[in-house]
Symmetry: C2
Subunit: 233 residues, 2 copies
Amino acid sequence: MASQASRGAVVLLSGGMDSSTTAAIARHEGFRLFALTIDYGQRHRLELESARKVAQFLNAAEHIVLRVDLTCFGRSALTDTIAVPKDRPVTAGHGEIPVTYVPARNTVFLALALAYAESRGLADIFIGANAVDYSGYPDCRPEFIEAFEHLANLGTKAGVEGRTRFRIHAPLLQMTKAQIIRRGIELGLDYGLTHTCYDPTPDGLACGRCDACQLRKKGFAEAGLQDPIAYVC
Amino acid sequence: MASQASRGAVVLLSGGMDSSTTAAIARHEGFRLFALTIDYGQRHRLELESARKVAQFLNAAEHIVLRVDLTCFGRSALTDTIAVPKDRPVTAGHGEIPVTYVPARNTVFLALALAYAESRGLADIFIGANAVDYSGYPDCRPEFIEAFEHLANLGTKAGVEGRTRFRIHAPLLQMTKAQIIRRGIELGLDYGLTHTCYDPTPDGLACGRCDACQLRKKGFAEAGLQDPIAYVC
């Protein structure tokens, strides 16, 4: 930890539970946080407000909110008018890819994080990708993260010149939701600042029924901890 | 050509000479064009107007201009206030990386092109990367293009489910500027629609002295062809 005390890292911070925990872990590892929030036109814009609160809570050196309107490409329940699925079973395992999948989202996010990191002379990028509880997203798998790290070192001036060896950190990759929550609580993270629901009410209450809410509730239950946020049901 | 007659391809179209020629090649290969122009806050915004004209000229099925404000990261002569170098020798070869390098630009562009392609059910992405005349950009090298293709097939629903085998086409990769221009002219491209200069006058004249202008002029001279655009000098 001490050796990295002066180093900075870009952290992709959505304001959700996973990315907020990832940011807390990066900080615990001694990195100064350069938080990057991508506003891609997601319906749950309350996430952006959560991201601001979490960045402040974790004393980020910088927080950039970058607008990239992925809604212009369409085709995702998170960015257009396909209904968010409710009350369906959420089971761990390598099942089908959910309709909430946003095409190439983590590729886009990591590419932007890389641009940010190279601009600031930083080598480390943190992403809250998680392959266990919600394995349906192809861009949350270890082999994807490794492929991106390889690309980052080929496709940048800093990588090619050997000044920087980019590293993509995905500390949650093999953790269950309960483990993630326990780790965040250990590190003092306030999950009341985070936002999870895919389909909140206009006044910001979590629906409690979408996949994301169900996984969050299940995670807190399995961790034996109280979720500080309010749900409609 | 006939077998691809009904297929579409995403083409990264800046409005410059290389990307416009790439679009003309994609069309000649039988693809319907889904042109994607990234407005990343570049100073030469005339490129965006050129991109619109070229997309129309090539009868694109769709043209999306996506704003991604990479200027918020800073550190490039193309996006902030570092002076564009003038009158310096532009030689082929594997020399230093120019100050006009935009951090991780092609990684960001290809990631967005991938999101667009997957959203439209398309497998083919064209980029005008070129490794010969201007080899200083690390993200214009063949190994970078290959690494991205690998990533694309790992990091997408369409790739993982095996419905789509993404292919990144970089038809200019091994061509000199003169060869590119000759190919474009053969295909009927009007280079008068394209924009190249890094530092145009307010009324849109090319400076004639930046690296990009010098390479363009050299290319036309070597191709033995007349450049249809006007220069200050």
